[in-house]
Symmetry: C2
Subunit: 246 residues, 2 copies
Amino acid sequence: MGSSEIRGSRPRIVLFGDSITEQSFRPGGWGAALADVYSRKADITIRGYGGYNTRWALHLLGHIFPSDGSAPPVAVTIFFGANDAALLGRNSHRQHVPLKEYKDNLRLIVQHLKESSPTILIVLITPPPIDEDGRMEFARSVYGDKAMKLPERTNEVTGLYAKECINLAAELQIPCINLWSKMQETEGWQKKFLSDGLHLTEEGNGAVFREVVRVFSEAGLNADSMPYDFPHHSVISGDNPEQAFL
Amino acid sequence: MGSSEIRGSRPRIVLFGDSITEQSFRPGGWGAALADVYSRKADITIRGYGGYNTRWALHLLGHIFPSDGSAPPVAVTIFFGANDAALLGRNSHRQHVPLKEYKDNLRLIVQHLKESSPTILIVLITPPPIDEDGRMEFARSVYGDKAMKLPERTNEVTGLYAKECINLAAELQIPCINLWSKMQETEGWQKKFLSDGLHLTEEGNGAVFREVVRVFSEAGLNADSMPYDFPHHSVISGDNPEQAFL
């Protein structure tokens, strides 16, 4: 399709996940950066739900991605696990989902999306690593003496969830961003990428953004090669603008 | 509607305009900031077209806002005029639209939207002021000796377009943000709010964002009083999550 041809509509990319997706339109956020890169080519829809685990996400599936297949998105990022990995017997135990169920739930989400559209691009994203010291510092800054005495998440356990996410992607042959490992390759990742030991700094958002763009591009969803929805202004004739819109 | 009730869908807010709308998801952008404020409550859709004037925007109307009234947005910002106000006989004359036609075109856009939905909230935004020195500096930085010798826009002429925008809003009794005047109330607006004499700095984006939130809120579209699409995670029972989603 030529870049000056009228398409009039845009494919939709949905970001489905927990708070790390919900907050992705804050300053420097990875969602906003995606919206800018796909400007005039695709719409980015945020479906991020702070605090949600995959068990609760299943209840949203049919609403967000109707089974009637009406206008399915071209691509979806699935970014859960940070809450599933909350430890039993600690502060956020209510959000805990057992490892096996986490993987099963992710599989159900992927299957539902594939049924809504056989050509949909699905990208799994593992939870980011956990900086346990950062979690404790954050808790103390908010709750003082009443703060939890042990972190409600550990990097080791979250790593197990990341591993299951990667395993599932391999089984289903869909792309996966191993954020848990990727971030830990950078020295000082604890403070560089994480603001409170869990959520992303601007640099952390930048890291997610670059990975998503890379994986989307490798899968053929490259903004540079996608057509504009309407002609670029430079091809509109001042005397005869109608022509560009025929 | 209670904040924990399931709605499942979100109203849509469309940002319709030129480059200043198109670029609103860049870092610090007013569009991304809106998306964050209305997070989990409304979807922000960008329909910004760099270089477009109101004459060309008319060709997009039926595509972006179908007349069949299917799922009309609850609110639209209309933010044109910066290109219409390009001067005849100068560098960007191709984009020039006469003052009277600018007002007529804006009226056609508003009428079209009102026909698509009688309850739609329409907010007109005037073009920002022009810093002519900033335009010239920018041209020299890009084109050197080949740069234009006179600015392609002046603040005075853009002010006339802003005035017609305000007049039309008064005639039609719809809200209007007088960005042209508002920005000039701040000392040093030329560099504080404008990056190249025309487009917005992060602070300029912040100014637009605050005005849009204020006008939306005054019109009853206040994020704080809008329901979530799905329950907040804190009201989901760990033992019996289904209940929250009934």
